[in-house]
């Protein structure tokens, strides 16, 4: 890439904008009428007027925050004929073609997750199996699913059985975690059959293309949003929605009280008080088919997933911003958020709000790698834990991995604990995919000042805010070491006498796990530590528990439930112990070939060393089947795998965090080996290079003061900036490598300043390493 590309890109952007301008700028707009229309509408709402006064007084124009309904204000002054894309007056399937993309079934699927998870994480329907033979397990029952199903969610439990949304993989998952309408609603009957729910019937008996289906809490009624006849602006945007109710057979259900008119978006959810949505003025509408409509002042920024409460923007600190949807009254002294923030999700009992989406999405990126984009949804197993659905940044069904494996468009699930911000991949969910798992990451909750700092009980909210703030991908390293101390950025430190280095870490809900090398009794030892934070509102590390001690540092499984540690060795064999990470109880132990314990990936525990028979470098995988609960179920097996690398010149090839590794072969080429699939990639670069550390996907190789970009059989070497060398912590994501700055700080030469370098934008100047962007500094022992 060079400057000419950027110039060409700029030219193209301007050219496209110029080309589109005549279409965009409607000459029929009467702007004086626009002002009048806005004024009229503004006068109608007392809350809006009050907000306007307050904001004008504060001069906080940009901070003005209202519900999305205000987006409709200008539609009243658009004159001229509707566009050709306007829906037909019948509200039929034709009409829906002009509607905004809603992804109805997927929305239902996502929206349903909280309800499902709120029951119990253990009740999560689990889809297992790939490539044609998936099964669904829920509460001990199992059913075979259609071959294309990759995801399932429980919407409600009806008298006929659980109502589920099944999602197939026929259409790509977008970067936003949305999929097409290939999800369908089914009832899992007592006979074990999955019966599809009939779509609602429209005029003439035709199937109506309803959107955003919501299932009543009792599972007997389904509500579909339908565009109203006048539901279009001049540019084709649907601005008015109606509602159609059906039973499980698709037959119309007539409500006792008619639904409200003027919905500017489909109802969000169906809670105990009724269907919940907002109107033009950002007011909350709660419509119950039997009890009618209740209007509650807004503007609202989020609802709890169970439809019991909403979070309004700050109107009065004395009354609070959380409103009870059943009573319509605010919860006294409940928290507010800043006017320029949007709450993305509100947890049960409104104890936590996810205020900045970037904060979580960055966590997912760090958990799953940079190839994973933002979250698709959030759900709440309890009031301080979120389950976040993450989808790969972009792919379609033709996407293949570098080694040729097909990549399924399956979202991945991560679980994050809010007091600590710690996230971990949830391995047992439908996210049985080829997505790699890098393990967890420790966020750094921060105490930030803001409009809700006046009461200590709200610090938990601030911790969420402070996970990243607006700088979604601007997290530095979180773990460091100093003399006899392990530093956990922002949340404290752990004293560990004789500490040599921290070798690995993993975080899960409420806990963190650390592996370390220490000097004990005249020799070196490996220890596994577990820590928790003091409380939800005071995320400070408290004394740790030593889970295990061995002769080498431990490795943790991808979800942090088990650890493996070497307790003794012979010339060719390691004696490994597998322990659970709650109390350190032994699950199973076994001798495994190898000289070194390197990693615990989804494929199993990897060791390396010479083959006892041939002496050639080899890698072994051991997949212990013992359960974390302590019952050594089954008999562990030892698999001799990846035998393709017997020709490798490196006896101890460097492993990446993604269960892959880069290795140099006798021909000087670099290849990656996928432990799970035992697949060796095509050469990614040839020629002699010094030993390096591969990035998680093997795209880059960090070596000394150089970063190699590998691909298409070629490689390009790019130097790090002057004064920067690779440091003790290397790859924090697919594209970010940790480096150290030299010379060390004069004030304390024993400590080392560590920065993060972004290797994207390698050409022509090499990685950018910066503290000007606020990249966190970390002091480490190196």
């Amino acid at each position: 890439m060079n400057d000419s590309f950027e110039r060409d890109l700029g030219d193209l952007i301007r050219r496209v904008a110029d080309h589109a301008s005549p279409t965009l700028d409607d000459p029929t707009l009467d702007h004086s009428d626009a002002a009048a229309a806005m004024e009229r509408i503004a006068r109608r709402g007392r809350a809006v007027r009050a907000r306007r006064r307050a904001l004008v007084a504060a001069g906080a124009v940009v901070a003005l925050a209202l519900a999305g309904g205000t987006a409709r204000l200008l539609t009243t002054h658009v004159s001229g004929a509707p566009s050709a894309a306007a829906p037909s007056p019948t509200g039929s399937a034709t009409a829906s073609a002009a509607a905004p993309v809603v992804d109805p079934a997927f929305t239902a699927w996502l929206d349903a997750l909280p309800r499902l998870d709120a029951a119990a994480t253990a009740d999560l329907p689990t889809v297992r199996g790939r490539e044609g033979a998936p099964t669904l397990t829920y509460r001990g029952r199992t059913v075979n699913l259609p071959a294309d199903v990759v995801g399932a969610a429980l919407l409600a439990v009806s008298p006929r059985g659980p109502v589920l949304a099944l999602t197939s993989n026929r259409i790509a998952v977008t970067r936003w975690g949305t999929v097409d309408a290939t999800s369908r609603l089914v009832v899992w009957g007592a006979d074990g059959a999955l019966k599809p729910l009939a779509p609602p019937a429209g005029p003439g008996g035709a199937n109506l293309t309803g959107q955003n289906p919501l299932v009543s809490p009792d599972g007997t009624t389904i509500a579909y949003a339908v565009p109203l006849p006048e539901a279009s602006t001049a540019i084709g945007f649907v601005s008015r929605w109606g509602i159609t109710l059906t039973d499980l057979d698709g037959r119309p259900v007539t409500p006792r009280v008619a639904p409200p008119t003027g919905l500017t978006s489909p109802f969000y959810l169906w809670g105990p008080a009724g269907l919940v949505g907002t109107d033009d003025l950002g007011r909350i509408l709660v419509w119950h088919p039997d009890r009618g409509t209740k209007t509650i002042a807004g503007p609202v920024t989020a609802f709890t997933s169970d439809g019991t409460a909403a979070l309004r923007y700050e109107e009065s600190k004395t009354s609070g911003c959380v409103v009870d949807l059943t009573t319509g009254r605010p919860v006294p002294r409940s928290p507010c958020i800043a006017p320029d923030q949007s709450a993305v999700s509100l947890g049960p009992r409104a104890r936590w709000a996810i205020v900045d989406y970037d904060a979580i999405s960055a966590g997912v990126r760090r958990t799953l790698g940079d190839g994973v984009a933002d979250l698709g949804t959030l759900s709440w197993p309890d009031d301080h834990t979120i389950l976040a659905l993450a989808a790969p940044a972009h792919f379609d069904l033709t996407t293949v991995a570098p080694d040729g494996r097909p990549v399924l468009p399956v979202p991945a699930l991560v679980r994050c604990d809010l007091p600590t911000g710690a996230c971990a991949r949830v391995a047992s969910d439908q996210a049985q995919s080829y997505l790699p798992s890098w393990g967890g990451v420790i966020f750094q909750p921060q105490r930030v000042t803001g409009p809700i700092t006046d009461e200590g009980t709200y610090l938990r909210w601030l911790a969420v805010l402070g996970m990243n703030g607006y700088s979604g991908d601007d997290q530095g390293p979180q773990l460091g070491t100093a003399k006899d101390r392990i530093l956990l950025q922002e949340i404290g430190e752990i004293t560990l006498p004789g500490l040599i280095e921290a070798t690995s870490w993993h975080s899960g809900p409420g806990v963190g796990l650390i592996g370390a090398r220490v000097r004990e009794r005249g020799g070196e030892a490996g220890v596994a530590l577990r820590f928790t934070t003091r409380s939800d509102t005071d995320p400070v590390v408290r004394p740790t528990t030593r889970l295990a001690t061995g002769i080498a540092p431990p490795v943790f499984d991808p979800v942090g439930e088990r650890l493996a540690i070497v307790t003794s060795r012979t010339a060719t064999t390691l004696h490994l112990e597998v322990r659970e990470t709650t109390r350190g109880s032994l699950i199973v132990a076994r001798d495994v070939p190898g000289e070194r314990l390197v990693q615990w990936s989804e494929a199993g525990i990897a060791t390396t060393g010479p083959d006892p028979a041939t002496g050639r470098p080899s890698v072994w995988l051991w997949a212990p089947s013992g359960s974390p609960s302590g019952s050594p179920a089954g008999s562990p097996s030892v698999e001799s795998s990846v035998d393709q690398i017997v020709d490798a010149e490196l006896a101890d090839p460097p492993f990446s965090p993604a269960a892959q590794r880069a290795v140099q072969w006798g021909d000087g080429c670099i290849r990656t080996i996928d432990l799970a699939e035992r697949v060796v990639s095509a050469p990614m670069g040839c020629g002699t290079v010094e030993r390096g550390t591969p990035s998680p996907d093997g795209t880059f190789l960090a070596s000394g003061r150089t970063v190699l970009r590998l691909g298409n059989g070629e490689r390009s070497a790019l130097p790090l900036p002057e004064g920067v060398t690779l440091g003790p912590w290397h790859w924090t994501s697919q594209t970010q490598v940790i480096a150290t700055v030299t010379p060390p700080p004069a004030a304390d030469p024993a400590l080392r300043t560590v920065i993060r370098c972004d290797v994207l934008g390698l050409e022509p100047h090499g990685p950018t390493c910066g503290s000007d962007q606020g990249t966190a500094l970390l002091r480490g022992s190196g």
């Binding site: 952007i13 050219r15 003005l64 910066g770 962007q773």
Partner: protein, 166 residues
């Protein structure tokens, strides 16, 4: 009608075309661009609808609101950007393919990367101005733009980073 709204009406007339251009590239669809600009103007109206004279920096303010809305509005599921933008361009025009390709590639970026790129090239904003619009640090804004440029380059070359990562 309150005549105090006239200056704001004039502002709407003057600012709307430019905002629509930017919004179109941020959303990839004409309808969503219109919706986004409506939201921006509505918010400004609530604060400055009857102010006379209007603040001199109102256009900059509008751009900031636009940037922030464009990077946050996708939180609402039915308003998320599409990976494949709707074909607003007439496929018969010479630029249609180029336009759709650009929109498709822009849709591959994160909201902030996309906004940083568009605001820089289309509205001539430097990194400091983009940072002000986002409410982030200058370096972060620069990183958004650099990363976006690199990804656009890779996409243009048919080298989709995301797929290579798997």
């Amino acid at each position: 009608m309150d005549t105090g709204g006239e200056p704001f009406g004039a502002f709407v007339a003057e600012a709307t075309p430019g905002l629509l251009r930017t919004a179109y590239l941020l959303t990839g669809r004409a309808d969503r661009a219109g919706e986004l600009v409506e939201s921006v103007l509505a918010r400004l109206w609530l604060a400055y609808g009857t102010t006379d004279p209007l603040p001199g920096d109102l256009p900059d303010c509008a751009r900031r609101v636009l940037a922030r809305l464009a990077t946050s509005r996708w939180r609402q599921p039915w308003r998320r950007p599409d990976a494949d933008p709707a074909p607003d361009a007439d496929p018969g025009t010479p630029d249609a393919g180029e336009e759709q390709r650009l929109l498709r590639h822009l849709a591959q970026l994160t909201p902030r990367q996309r906004a940083a790129l568009v605001l820089h090239h289309l509205d001539g904003l430097d990194d400091a101005s983009v940072a002000a619009a986002f409410g982030c640090r200058v370096g972060q804004a620069a990183r958004y733009r650099r990363t976006a440029t690199t990804r656009m380059h890779d996409l243009a070359a048919g080298d989709v980073i995301e797929t290579a990562a798997w």
